[in-house]
Amino acid sequence: MITAHSLTKRYGAATAVDNLTFEVPPGVVTGFLGPNGSGKSTTMRMIMGLDYPDSGSALIGGKPYPELAWPLREVGGLLEAKAFHPARTARNHLRWLALTNDIPLRRVDEVLDQVGLTSVANRRAGKFSLGMGQRLGIAATILGDPGVLLFDEPVNGLDPEGIRWVRHFLRGLAAEGRTVFVSSHLISEMALTADRLVVIGRGRLIAETSVVDFISRSGGAAVRLVTPDVAEFSSALTAIGARVSYGDAGSLTVEGLAAPQIGDVAARDGLRVHELTPITASLEDAFMELTRDEVEYRPSTLAGAAVAGGKE
């Protein structure tokens, strides 16, 4: 369990993390979602005792990180893509880590095997591809078999196979009852990996919820209807309280009514239906909706498009 309470971090005049309070429970994958520069990495560094908060606290199982008796046996963290010396071999990198926390050295070969790096264990880590480096970083997180794990953008730069592997790996850790906290700016990835979400923008908490709730809460559930009887449908549906907007050639977007109800109207009035498709808002839409005011750097044309799209 990770608990952040009123966590705040300032760099000069800029507030990177602003009064952030949230919990990361064990047994599920909690996604930490936010645009680039929203304070995710800073928050994770504060949880791991690397950066000092200006106020507030971050606790692991009720304790500040620096007070953990055997940090690597309690928390595993992957905070940057290549946090190893390029001249050191993968095995030696894990060995020095193991020594710090009195972890048996046989664990080194176990975790190398687990992440599939056994064959390159004696190669200098500086020669590793981004994907191999990421696997080495992940091996380091599980070296002490910890109950709490943090990953900052673990799939950045990975190929599809690597991304799949990480996703299964994270879900496996959570299924074993561990606390798993994963940051990402990739919403689609979080939709597949996370059960819960902590969403931030400009260092502030925007939402702390389940993925399912997050999508439905942002509303926008609509049904796409394609029909030759556009005018008749439009008046019939508006009459019973639906909001209808016109799309391209013979298509309508209906909000406020579910597909079965629209089908019933069609049967009642003898109107023709060529297509009837429920549109659930994607996690991406929900995210854009919620963070619209919180994105720090955005090209102006994109900003205009997003606002226009939102009003549609």
Partner: protein
């Protein structure tokens, strides 16, 4: 829901765990092998060349000749490479990002730093003492073989000079480690070390008539390596060996103290 916590040994991580880890770290980066190799080769080469040149003194006499100092002179090279070694021990962690992994593994920063400095100090002293003795014996072999005046460890002041030279250079490496802690960048740390130790005296010399007795390289050659009082009157007497060594220890301690305070207080 605890995992390894159940299997964890009692108590908590201690200095000995960090020491073991730091020793492994030091032995598994190339900069260690490179600086050590360079120091041995260049240091002994300089000693050999200087000793060989002393076989035919320009003045034709050995008045004021100090065979002990002559045989240790190559260790000035070790002063420079030792500085590079000391700086890279800590800045290499910053440039690679390893420092975050190190602090995450052992977040009690004062304990971590004590272990790190301790390992660096012991390694530097042991290596520099070995090199100092080897350089001494090499120099004396060349001098005596060529018929020049030579010394042995029983010669007054010789053993003191050999032992102190090793300690002095280890202190220079530690001062550089402190610079590394302060600037957290390899190039900047090495540049400030070389600047303070080798360039600053030259600049000072050009400005006025400064008291250069307090400059590390001058202490090293004139107070630490030397076993005979410097020549004709009018020249300022160098610091005594013990005062010189103490002063270098103060330089190193000051650099490490500033670095340690910053290391504990700053974000990693």
């Amino acid at each position: 829901m605890a995992y390894a916590i159940q299997n964890a040994p009692g108590g908590h991580y201690r200095t000995k765990h960090v020491v073991k880890s730091e020793v492994l770290k030091m032995l598994t980066v190339r900069s260690t092998a490179i600086t050590v190799g360079l120091t041995v080769v260049a240091g002994l080469l300089v000693t050999g060349l200087v000793a060989n040149a002393s076989l035919h003194p320009a003045s034709g006499s050995y008045l004021g000749f100090d065979p002990t100092q002559t045989s240790l002179i190559g260790l000035i090279v070790a002063g420079l490479t030792g500085g590079v070694f000391g700086a890279l021990l800590i800045t290499g962690e910053y440039s690679s990002g390893t420092i975050r992994a190190t602090i995450a593994a052992t977040p009690k920063r004062p304990l971590l730093l004590v272990a790190k400095i301790g390992v660096a100090a012991v390694a530097a002293v042991v290596f520099c003492e070995l090199l100092s003795f080897v350089s001494f014996f090499l120099g004396q072999a060349i001098l005596s073989g060529g018929g020049a005046p030579s010394a042995n460890l029983g010669t007054p002041g010789a053993l003191r000079a050999v032992v102190m030279t090793g300690v002095f250079i280890a202190l220079m490496a530690l001062m550089s480690f402190g610079f590394g802690l302060i600037v957290r960048n390899s190039a900047a740390a090495i540049a400030s070390f070389a600047g303070v130790v080798f360039v600053l005296p030259l600049v000072m010399h050009g400005i006025s008539e400064p008291d250069l007795r307090y400059v590390p390289t001058n202490i090293l050659t004139n107070s630490i390596m030397s076993t005979v009082n410097q020549g004709p009157g009018g020249i300022v007497q160098p610091l005594s060996p013990s005062v010189g060594l103490l002063l270098m220890a103060i330089y190193a301690a000051a650099s490490l103290a500033v670095g340690a305070v910053l290391f504990v207080r700053r974000d990693a």
